[in-house]
């Protein structure tokens, strides 16, 4: 029911319709006049279908942590989330009816949010006796845009780690890259989802990088914006968790921080109402937003093999050397030159970014 619709009906008809609505809701004491006022005030919200496949539900629960606007505000005032298994009131076959109704009535109009990777083996992931991949194809076909939320949906993520037991694939490999926006992260920061949706609704599709991620979120290297960057530049490191130093929060690359290879705005926007992010608690980044996560980032607590540390080894690796050593990582999606860029540290950053841009193009 849109505002436009109401402009085309007479006030009398309108009140009659509203009376019907009130009756349908069992609101005998609610006057048609009162309903009409509320209805006229409410504009149509963009419809959303949120599907969960091979996932841990962590991107759903992460969404509940949305801060500004809050998840409540988003659900009540900004989006019409028709299908979302974790919180929808509907049950059983009713949920399927909601899904099919939305696809039909809102064809070309709804945003599909996909959480989780997609098993390609028959029977390895089913909703209402249908394989996830068939449900995905049906929902994606008529969606206005598809948001692959979290690293599992975007790139395969955790279940795609070797040996990929369920033979899972990312969303874009099932339905094609067209109209897919990847919002990786394990879990995805709720701000990334909400700001991307806002971008789509207010300004159209955001500019994406070669991995299908919005550049306004994933455009910068974590290492470059890290609150502990000064320690890195000065060659001050945590050598092992539990080091007895007081007062100074040293750089974590020697205990495995993957910030130099990871691109996201975590240092700027942080997590959970700004209360934390991985580096802030002294554990380091694990690279959860990158296409090659998690395989290329394990062992999580080992130092990046080719990251030269200022004031420590005194060496600066060049991109070719890094490329040779990290061949395995390259094969599963990480850009050699991106690694090289990080390895060169701040000074080599600009040139390396250009190289990365060339590679991506």
């Amino acid at each position: 029911m849109s505002r436009e619709f109401f402009r085309e009906v007479s006030r009398r008809d309108f009140l009659k319709i509203c009376g019907g609505v009130a009756a349908a809701l069992g609101l005998s004491e609610m006057s048609a006049q009162e309903v009409a006022e509320v209805l006229a005030a409410s504009a149509k919200k963009p419809p959303v279908v949120w599907l969960e496949f091979g996932s841990c539900s962590g991107c759903s629960t992460s969404f509940l942590n949305a801060d500004a606007p809050s998840a409540v505000d988003v659900l009540l005032n900004h989006l019409s989330v028709r299908y979302i298994e974790v919180i929808m009131a509907a049950q059983g076959a009713q949920t399927e009816e909601v899904l099919h109704e939305t696809i039909q009535q809102e064809a070309g109009n709804y945003i599909a949010v996909i959480e989780g990777a997609v098993p390609t083996l028959d029977g390895y992931g089913m909703i209402a006796d249908r394989n996830f991949y068939d449900v995905l194809k049906e929902v994606a076909a008529k969606a206005k845009a598809v948001i692959a939320l979290g690293s599992c949906a975007a790139y395969g993520g955790i279940p795609a780690a070797k040996p990929n037991p369920g033979q899972v694939k990312p969303v874009s490999e099932i339905i094609g890259k067209e109209k897919v926006i990847n919002i990786p992260g394990c879990a995805a920061n709720p701000s990334w989802l909400v700001s991307t949706v806002v971008h789509v609704l207010m300004f159209g599709m955001p500019e994406l990088d070669s991995f299908g991620r919005p550049k306004f979120i994933y455009g910068q290297c974590i290492h470059d914006n890290c609150e502990r960057r000064a320690s890195f530049d000065e060659g001050m490191f945590v050598d092992q968790y539990g080091d007895k130093e007081v007062g100074r929060d040293y750089c974590l690359v020697k205990v495995g921080c993957k910030g130099p290879n990871t691109h996201a705005n975590c240092p700027q926007i942080r997590w959970n109402g700004g209360k934390g992010w991985c580096v802030a608690v002294g554990a380091g980044c694990i690279g959860c937003v990158e296409p090659s996560f998690p395989d290329a980032f394990m062992p999580f607590h080992d130092r990046l093999p080719d990251l030269a540390l200022p004031g420590w080894a005194g060496l600066r690796a060049d991109a070719d050397l890094v490329g040779t050593v990290l061949g395995a990582a390259t094969a599963i999606g990480i850009g050699v030159h991106a690694v090289g860029a990080a390895a060169k540290g701040k000074l080599g950053k600009r040139a390396a970014q250009d190289e990365q841009a060339k590679t991506e193009a």
Binding site: M30, G58, V72, L76, K162, C278, V281, A283, H301
Partner: protein
């Protein structure tokens, strides 16, 4: 004449679940619980460094990742002979406390409440709470997804309770966020944390941290004391028949959590223990050699029922049975049994093992059995118990400005970590050689509760709880989904492959 009713998906849970029942004369005579998705995290862990299991295994569950991190860390610490610092023990209890609190709040308000509370009652709301007014206009505008449509044939609460509970539903989202913030102070972010590592914890213990934690603990305790527990008590009388619906197998298992300075799992606020055959006042010690896992009705290669660490298990999908009565394989879940019995795990099990006086008094007063209502009440009272203990835990911290983490060199060894997730007992078993995982094994809460039949045909706890239930409207069997949700299912956790080429790992351990 009997008929088969299917609910698929069972939503407002974590992960993918389908249930089927056979109904005869309005009564469930047979039931099947079907885990419909598979990911196989343990297979992924083989060959990795043991520490990676702490970060990977958490990803089994985005609702309760913390207990995976603690169980994984404990397994490594046992395997490598590491003793964690006192501040780390305390910080783990605190982060676990916030995890339980946020998970229990989420479960009651956002997963379960819509089965009992009618948020559409807000159309009668006349106050000025902005969020309730938003919801009111949403309902009136006819665009009230995702709160409609719904099964609305059995709402029984008066308008004022509906409105109050709906207001708390919204507040509970904010409380969930607040608990997430507290977890982020210790873990970096939530869900999925980096701050729990083998050897201890990574955040420095500072006076600022202690102060912040006190603030969060106090705020959440207030919500539990003034909203969550009172709401459960207010709703219960209207659904008092559910005090005898959904009674499970009567066997309860708890591994225990929140260890004190003596680190004795039998001497904590949530102790370890076992209750068998409905004898709820008789708590026994737990003996892990009595665990057997079955695959007779699970999508894995057949084999004799085995100890979880014993033998090889391979996925083998054989399709959806055309009729569940035909006795074919039907679920991705395996069927763990303790002492040959199907076991219930979770808040009710823990509170019974603890012999919690508040719960036992309430059950006696309301005349309820180990049912749907008992599970919901046990969860609320457990949240309150933990909240009551949070300030005490926080003041155990010594704010010395240090990172509470023991330093060690990875070696070879075997270890296990037993803990409690909000939804029940969780155990990780690890075997490592030169720092690398040669075997990893998880037995997690919903694996017990949602298990299918075993080789003797004994149904799992959900199935037992559903059998005997009277269904008022077979097209909308809300009795069944109320039963299932009372357990707080976490299907993604439950479905994992046990891949043990190196056999007999867990069998080598003796667990007190």
């Amino acid at each position: 004449m009997s008929q088969i009713i299917t609910v698929d998906p069972v939503n407002r849970i974590e992960g993918h679940l389908k249930i089927q029942v056979e109904v005869e004369n309005g009564k469930v005579v047979n039931a099947w619980t079907v885990g419909t998705a598979y990911r196989g995290l343990e297979q992924i862990l083989r060959g990795r460094k043991a520490e990676d299991a702490v970060l990977i295994s958490q990803r089994a569950c985005g609702v309760c990742p913390i207990p995976y991190a603690t169980a994984g860390s404990k397994a490594i610490e046992m395997a490598y002979g590491i003793e964690i610092p006192e501040n780390a023990r305390v910080l783990r209890n605190i982060i676990m406390g916030f995890q339980f609190i946020c998970s229990h709040i989420l479960h009651f308000y956002h997963l379960v409440a819509l089965d009992y509370v009618d948020p559409a009652a807000v159309v009668h709301y006349t106050g000025n709470d902005p969020e309730l007014l938003d919801l009111k206009s949403l309902v009136l505008s006819g665009d009230s997804a995702p709160f409609t449509p719904r099964w609305d044939h059995d709402f029984r609460l008066p308008t004022d309770i509906n409105i109050a509970a709906t207001k708390h539903y919204i507040e509970a989202v904010h409380m969930y966020q607040r608990a997430g913030e507290a977890i982020a102070l210790l873990g970096g972010k939530f869900p999925h944390v980096v701050g729990i590592v083998a050897g201890g914890m990574t955040p420095k213990v500072t006076p600022t941290l202690v102060t912040d934690l006190i603030g969060y603990a106090k705020e959440l305790k207030d919500f539990i004391d003034t909203k969550y527990v009172p709401d459960v008590l207010a709703v219960a009388p209207y659904y008092i028949d559910y005090g005898n619906i959904g009674v499970g197998p009567g066997n309860f298992l708890a591994f225990g959590s929140f260890e004190g300075p003596d680190r004795d799992p039998y001497n904590t606020i949530l102790p370890r223990g076992v209750i068998m055959d409905g004898d709820i006042n008789s708590v026994q010690e737990f003996d892990q050699s009595r665990i057997i896992e079955h695959v007779a009705y699970s999508y894995y290669e057949d084999g004799n029922p085995k100890h979880p660490g014993d033998g090889v298990t391979l996925p083998k999908y054989t399709g959806i049975p055309s009729d569940p009565r035909r006795g074919e394989k039907y679920s991705w879940l395996k069927a763990p049994r303790y002492n040959t019995k199907a076991m219930e795990v979770g808040p009710l099990a823990r509170m019974l093992v603890r012999q919690d006086a508040n719960l036992l008094d309430l059950a006696a007063k309301l005349k309820i059995g180990p049912s749907v209502l008992a599970r919901i009440a046990a969860r609320a009272l457990e949240a309150q118990l933990i909240a009551d203990n949070m300030l005490g835990m926080i003041t155990e911290l010594k704010p010395d400005g240090q990172v509470p983490c023991a330093q060690y060199k990875p070696t070879s060894g075997r270890g296990y970590g037993l803990d409690e997730a909000p939804r029940g007992a969780i155990g990780h078993w690890l075997e490592a050689e030169a720092g690398r995982i040669t075997n990893y094994q998880m037995i997690i809460p919903t694996g017990w509760n949602a298990s299918p039949r075993d080789i003797t045909g004994q149904p799992g706890p959900y199935e037992i709880a559903m059998i005997g239930t009277e269904i008022k409207d077979v097209s909308r069997p809300i009795e069944l989904t109320r039963i299932i949700r009372s357990y707080d299912p976490c299907m993604a956790c439950a479905v994992h492959v046990v891949d043990l080429e190196k056999e007999k790992i867990a069998a080598k351990f003796t667990i007190g």
